[in-house]
Every structure is written in C-alpha cells, then in structure tokens.
C-alpha cells in the first residue's frame, strides 16, 4: 500500500497571515537557528537553567527549542501559589507529579507561579459535575477552574462566584497570542465566556475545522467504474449508483452501499450534513433568517426537499437498509472498515479512523478526499465545526492574580503554537533520546506525531488534558511548517525532530492534507450554529421530546415508514409542542447578545 495513494497535492506555501501571526521575536529566533546556532544558553535566556529547557539541545542530532521572551515583571518575587482543578488522568515518571514536573519547574522559573492541585476528575460526564458541585457546596472553589462544564458555569454565574476579568484582560492579555488568536470568526470564541459584555472567563479553544467534512472516496472504485470525483449532488448520485450496480464492496452479494450514513444526519463521522448543506440548511442548527432573527433549520421547508432526496436514495438501495440503527462510531468498523461503502462525508481524521481498517481488509483500497459536491442551485455548504466547546476556564471571585495567569497563558501559547519555536516536549516526559543510534524514542503515545498531546501537563490553557489552545489554527500552522519548511531541508541537515515528523505512513500524510484543506474551506463553506449558550427553560422541559420527535420523523421519512408529507405535520407538532416558545426564548437571548 505504500506510496500508492493519489495524494491531493495542495499548494502549502505559508501565507502572509502565518508570518503575521508569528511575531518578530520568533522569526529572529528561527533565523538564528537556520544560521546553525548553537547551545541554548546563548539565546539570551540566561535566567532559565539549561536543565529546565525542553528539547534535546545537548545531543548530536537533538533539537533546540526556542523559549519566548519572559513576560514583563516575571518571574514574580516572592513566588505565588495558585490552586487549580485539573482533568486527569496523568502519569509521571521519576517521582514527578502534577504539581512538580518538567512543566511546572520551567513554569515556576519563567513566571514565579507554583500550581497546587485542588481536585481532579477523569470521567468528563458525571464525575466532573460531582467534583465542581462539591466544591461549590463546600465553598472551596479553587482559584483557577479548568474546563468548567456549561451547567456549572451557569450555576457559578447565577451565584456570583466568578471573577470578572474584563479589565485585567484588556490591560495584560498578549496582543497576538491571546487577543488576536482568540479573535477569529467574529469573536465567536467569546460567546460563552462573555456575559453582558463582560469577560467572565477564558475561552476553551480547540482546532479549527476539526469536524468539518470532506468527501472521502475510493479512488480505485472510481477508476474501476471509469468515473471522476463528483462535484455536484447529481454526479454524486451517479457515482453511488455505479458503485452499487457494479457491487464494488467486499461484503456478500448486493451489500455495497452508495454512501455510509448513520442515525444522526448531522454528526461527526459518516454524516449527511453536506447533503443538507447543498440545499443551504443544517438540521439542529440555529441560523439567522433574513430579518436577523434566529430560526431553527430543522423545521425549514428546504429540509423536506433533502429528506425527499435521501428517501429516494434509500429506496434505491444507496443507503444501508438499517443505516439508522448505527451510531456514528459504528460506521467505521462495519461500513468503512468492512469495505461496504466507497464514499463518506467525514472529517480529516477519517484518514486514520476507519480507513486503516479498510486498507487492512483490502490491500488494494486507495482512498482520496475531495471537496463536497454542490447542490441543485450551486450551494456548497457543510456544518461549521465550532472550535469553542461548551466549556470555559474561570477564576474564583476575589482571586487576585488573574494577570499572572494570563501572562503565563500567553508565554506557553507562544512557545507551543509558534512552530518556529520547535517545541515538542521534554526529554523524559514526551520522549527519550537514544544516543546509541541517535534516535528519539517516543514514550507511548505522548510524542504523538499528529496529536501534540504532550503538552497536557501544563496548567491552564494552552495546556490542559484535552488539547485546548489559544489559536484554532495552531495545528494547521504546524502541518504547514513541516510540509513547507522542514520537508525542504536537505536530508542530511535534518535533526531528530524533523525526521520524526517527516516520516509517517501514507494515511497520516493524507490526514495532514485533508486537515489543511478543511481549514482552508472552514469559514467559506461552513453553516454556523448561532445558538451557543445554556439551554432555554422550554428547551430543558420540552427539548428531549422535540429532539426525539425530530430524529424519529427524519429517519422514518428517509426509510419510507412514513410518507414525505409527514414532515409538514412534524413542523406543526414541533411548533405547538414548545418549538414556538423555544424560538422566542432563543431570539430573546440572541437579541440580548447584540
């Protein structure tokens, strides 16, 4: 399977925007590195002892990590101790722990902050609520609260337990690594963290376009039926029909599917959201209508056309007869891994989720990705994946050192997110240097060549056990750096870090390419869900009922158990069953926002 993939080669020159993001100091540092410079202590970081540095600068082919300048007024003297909550689990070697590790030692040297663990949780559903509720009930809130779930956040707000950080933020937040980085997409990052124009916390930011779909397609099947990649929904229909008629699949006779789908029409894997998007609507999303009010897309008339189309496809055998019994994660094994489907709308990470099974089961399988096909009126839209999950970082009311934490955040953000700094963990924490053959030895999954999870032991963003950053383009910037700069470095000049990252199997490379592609189309092709706050009162009461009704109706229309006109009755039931009231409540919030 090696090197047989038809990569969609993309032009990946770094944009002007990338360079603007990178700030002057780091460019200078990068230039110094290019000039073949040298031991770390020569870089003006005399205050930080060499043994605290990340990277492996003292090994023959080890790498140098450039540290950003120490923030003004830091390290603070005397040092301060700040308590914080953390999501676990973690594992440390050699007597280190969460309060005393490579990260905290470097952090203490740079900022003068010592972190103390208040409490931790590992289960992100029940346990996190329990721990926070306990802290609230016992009046023992930590200074800094990590990844606070939405309902805890609203409880804290209702009870006035959170510090308003607006003024401190305006004064000390770093212009590039905090303010600018978090200003993407019209400031959507602040929808939760900002309440009535006041900043009540720091947004939790994941990577851009993480769940934005591309069309994954079996190139070898396309070649076999003599067709090219579909660019319209009609062409998509022809390709699906051709796959099914030629029975390209690996299963029993007649089990080939047109496209992989599951019980959720708008979801994170094997989704149908780009089909709905081709008609300009997005089920479960709230979008602005022509009057500037928010409308619930699931009940818009265009949906009926899409359901009619899907119903037609189902009756033609293009969808699995029981697609609606599958949850998204179950598609990867049965339909994709089992080589029953040669098409799916999945995110970039689909390259390493499902496709590896597919290739293992059929060594001739060659997957490629392409843009999503356009609808009958030329619309090309998909669900915009929001990099701001329903969680925030907040500070305890009365906490005095918000400014220090913000400075710390900016310093680590710059260290991690500027690829020119070449941060990739500490020896002994993320990897071991092996002198005998001059190789690095990743420790388990921590030196994950695509996941960057080795930073999860830092306190507060951009660290945290879950991958939050301050810049949603961080990962893509790294990919671009690897592909545009590192890959152009002559092989004999590459250091161990470059070598580790430039290797990688074809599917990981495909993942990188799809990631860059999805990020480039993120803003232009995405339909955004504009309702981003706690559920309204009527949603709490009637939401489960209405959501159930919606899911049931959609599925039963598609699979032919109910007539297409059932949709009209559903819209009426939705509106009278609480939907109208929800719409009013949502708009009350929406107009209060602006």
């Amino acid at each position: 399977m090696k090197s047989k993939f038809p990569y969609n080669t993309l032009d990946l020159k770094p944009s002007r925007r990338d360079f603007m993001r990178l700030g002057g100091t780091s460019l200078a540092a990068a230039m110094m590195m290019r000039a073949g410079l040298p031991p770390i202590l020569a870089q003006g970081m005399g205050d930080i002892p060499a043994e605290l540095h990340p990277g492996s600068p003292n090994n023959p082919r080890g790498w140098t990590t450039t540290l950003p300048p120490i923030p003004e007024g830091m390290p603070v003297d005397p040092p301060v101790t700040i308590t914080g909550s953390r999501r676990g689990p973690w594992e440390f070697a050699d007597g280190d722990d969460i309060e005393n590790s490579n990260f905290t030692r470097l952090n203490a040297a740079v900022t003068g902050i010592n972190w103390k663990l208040a409490f931790t949780w590992t289960d992100n559903e029940g346990e996190v609520l329990q721990k926070y509720n306990l802290a609230i009930a016992s009046d023992e809130l930590p200074d800094f609260m990590e990844t606070v779930p939405l309902q805890i956040y609203s409880e804290l707000l209702d009870n006035d337990l959170i510090e308003d950080i607006t003024d401190v933020w305006d004064e000390v937040a770093h212009p590039v690594w905090l303010k600018e980085a978090m200003g993407f997409s019209d400031g959507i990052a602040w929808r939760l963290a900002e309440v009535n124009g006041r900043k009540m916390g720091v947004p939790y930011i994941e990577q851009a376009a993480q769940n934005d779909k591309v069309l994954w397609i079996r190139q070898d099947w396309l070649d076999a039926v003599g067709m090219s990649a579909p660019t319209t929904i009609d062409e998509l229909h022809s390709v699906m029909t051709a796959f099914v008629e030629a029975d390209m699949g690996q299963g029993g006779d007649g089990t080939t599917l047109g496209i992989a789908a599951n019980r959720q029409v708008n979801t994170w894997y094997c989704s149908l959201d780009p089909i709905f998007g081709a008609w300009g609507v997005m089920p479960t999303f709230w979008t602005p209508d022509e009057n500037g009010d928010l409308q619930y897309d699931s009940v818009r008339p265009e949906i009926k056309e899409v359901l009619g189309t899907l119903r037609q496809w189902y009756s033609e055998g293009l969808l699995a007869p029981d697609f609606f019994t599958f949850a998204p994660w179950q598609n990867s094994g049965t339909h994709i891994g089992g080589n029953l489907a040669g098409l799916m709308y999945s995110p970039a990470f689909g390259a390493v989720y499902g496709l590896p099974d597919s290739v293992a089961n059929d060594p001739d399988a060659r997957w490629a990705f392409g843009d999503i096909p356009t609808g009958p009126t030329g619309i090309k839209k998909k669900a915009w994946s929001n990099p701001v999950p329903d969680t925030v970082y907040v500070f305890r009311k009365g906490f005095e050192h918000v400014d220090l934490v913000l400075k710390q955040m900016a310093w680590w953000a710059e260290l991690l997110q500027n690829p020119k700094n070449r941060y990739h963990g500490f020896e002994g924490t993320a990897y071991f240097w092996r002198d005998d053959d001059g190789e690095i030895d990743p420790m388990g999954s921590t030196l994950d060549l695509n996941g960057y999870d080795d930073t999860k032991h830092i306190w507060g963003p951009p660290g945290t056990n879950g991958g939050s950053r301050t810049d949603p383009f961080y990962e893509t910037n790294w990919i671009k750096e690897r592909r545009n700069v590192w890959a152009n470095t002559p092989e004999d000049e590459r250091d161990a870090l470059m070598e580790a990252f430039l290797g990688g199997d074809p599917l990981s490379v495909l993942w990188d390419e799809a990631n860059v592609f999805a990020v480039d189309h993120w803003e232009a092709d995405g339909i955004k869900n504009h309702f981003l706050t706690v559920p309204t009162r009527t949603m709490e009461r009637a939401g489960a009922s209405l959501d159930g009704l919606e899911a049931e109706t959609y599925i039963n229309i598609i699979n032919g158990q109910e007539p297409l006109d059932r949709f009209d009755a559903f819209v009426e039931e939705w509106r009278s069953g609480g939907g109208d009231r929800i719409t009013d409540e949502v708009n009350e919030w929406w107009h209060g926002q602006m």
Partner: protein, 299 residues
C-alpha cells in the same frame, strides 16, 4: 434456655450481622433524605436546604409528557416479558441440566450460558449490532435458507423481541444457577423411591422436582415483580435508535435524553421516586404472594 445462655451461644451471630446493618443504614437509609430534590428545583450550588420547593411540578411534568403513555407502556411490556421469559427459561434450563447425566456436559453448558452475564452491554451491543445488521450473519443465514432478512434492531415489529431475546441470553444463565442450587436441596431418596415405584423421568420432574423447588420459584418470581419498571436501561441505550422510539423507548432512556440537554437532578429524582414507589407497592404484593403460595415469611 435462658436469655443469658442463649446470648452466650449466639452473640457471634449478632456481631456478624452488625456490619450489614450499618451498611444498610448508612448507604440505604441515610441517603433517603435526598428524595426531597424530587420536590425541589434543585441546584447543587444552593444545596438541599436552600433550593426552592416546587411541590409536585416534576411529577406533573413527567406525567404530562406527550410520550409518557408510550414510554410507560414500553417499559412495562419489555420488563414483564423479560421477567416471564427469564423465569420460565431458567426453570426449564435448570430442569434439563439437572437431568443431564454427564457432569462434564452439565458444567460446560452451565458455564457457557452464564458467560454473557459477565460482558457489559456496551460490548454486547457492538457484537449484537454486527450479528443483527442488515448484512449481518443472522440475515445472511436467513437469506441462504430462502427466508426474508429482517431489520432486527431497526423495525418496530422486531425491536422488542430482539431486546427481550438478547436480555434473556445475557441473564438466563445467572437465574438458572439459582434454580440449580435449589434443585440440589431435594433429597435424592425421594427420586430413588419414585424410581423404584416405577415413575419415569417426567413423572419424577412433575411430582418431585417441581414441588421441591416451588418455594424458590414463587419467591424469585414474586421478588422479580419489584423489577417491573426495570426494562434494562443500558441494553436499550446501546441497541435502540430513533426509528424504534415507538416500541423501544423506555422511561430511563427518555429521562437520559432529557438529562443530555441539561442536567435535571430534580426530574431524575422524581422519576427515581416514582419507580421506587411502584416497586415498593409490588414488593409488598409479592411478599404477600410469597407468603400465601410458598409459605415464605420473614417474621
């Protein structure tokens, strides 16, 4: 025997029972004050003491749900079918295994039917989905003998049957073992005497084995009445889909979806209390039944 003599002999028994009583008091009775949240608009920040009281509102909301009739009847139908299938199946299996002559054969079967008991529904759900899917092994087998494939998990005609059958498969081994244990308590002399009198296998089962385990049957059947609203949350959550809400959605899965939108402690508390109330009622009835038909009394 005086009380003093009795205590001298029996005190270790009383000491042994103490941890059990403490456990029950601590973990079963002490938390009971928590049921107050069913009548509150509970917020953990305010706690039990300061959360506002709202009377029966949570119950009114529950009973006024448009789906309440549907989820209530689904719960009852699935739970009762499961109880009946499980008890009948376990009795029959226990009798069959009891008659098996080769110990090796009996032990093997016993272990095999007991095995699914140890797997979680998450694991079994994934396995069942593969077996029962449209292109799965069961439908392929049906097709190869010329029968129509069915959507076992996706059609309202089959979903309950699938749930009951798979629940049976998972739990029957455990129930069987309880009955097998009861069967060993029957005095073999009775069987020998009956055999000498010329009774065949079926006669002996009918006149000796079944009457011998009658108290166990009545007791287990009666106690299982308390489970009449436990249709199997985890199982249904892993197997169902919106297409089968009509026949497969139960109270627990519905409340779970309500909780997904926002944690509603009070509503969950009200549902728990409602289920406990019905369960309590049925336990009382079943205790009376157990006394009436099996002579089972606590005091």
């Amino acid at each position: 025997m005086t009380f003093k003599q009795y205590m001298k002999r029996a005190w270790p028994l009383y000491v042994m029972i103490v941890p059990g009583i403490v456990f029950v008091l601590l973990f079963r009775y002490y938390p009971m004050y928590g049921v107050v949240i069913a009548f509150q608009d509970f917020s953990p920040a305010k706690g039990f003491a300061r959360s506002p009281w709202i009377g029966w509102e949570n119950f009114e909301f529950l009973f006024s749900l448009p789906e309440f009739g549907r989820i209530f009847s689904n719960t009852l139908i699935i739970a009762i079918s499961k109880i009946v299938a499980d008890q009948l199946g376990a009795i029959i299996l226990a009798l069959l295994l009891n008659e098996a002559r080769r110990i090796f054969f009996r032990r093997t079967i016993q272990t095999l039917i007991y095995l699914p008991h140890f797997l979680s529904w998450i694991v079994l759900g994934g396995i069942l989905l593969d077996i029962l899917s449209a292109g799965g092994i069961l439908n392929q087998a049906l097709r190869s003998v010329g029968m129509e494939p069915q959507l076992w998990l996706g059609s309202n005609d089959w979903f309950r049957g699938t749930v009951i059958a798979s629940g049976f498969w998972k739990s029957v081994g455990f129930s069987t073992i309880v009955y097998l244990a009861a069967l060993t308590a029957i005095n073999p002399v009775l069987h020998e005497a009956a055999a000498i009198d010329g009774a065949g296998r079926f006669r002996r089962i009918w006149h000796i084995t079944l009457p011998g385990i009658r108290p166990t049957i009545v007791l287990l059947a009666a106690l299982s009445l308390g489970d009449v609203l436990q249709a199997g949350f985890e199982q249904i959550l892993t197997l169902y889909s919106p297409a089968v809400y009509r026949t497969g959605d139960i109270i627990d899965t519905y409340v779970y979806r309500v909780g997904l939108i926002s944690a509603q402690y009070s509503l969950a508390g009200a549902v728990g209390l409602f289920k406990s109330f019905i369960g309590f009622f049925l336990i009382v009835i079943s205790y009376w039944l157990a006394d009436r038909f099996a002579g089972y009394r606590i005091l």
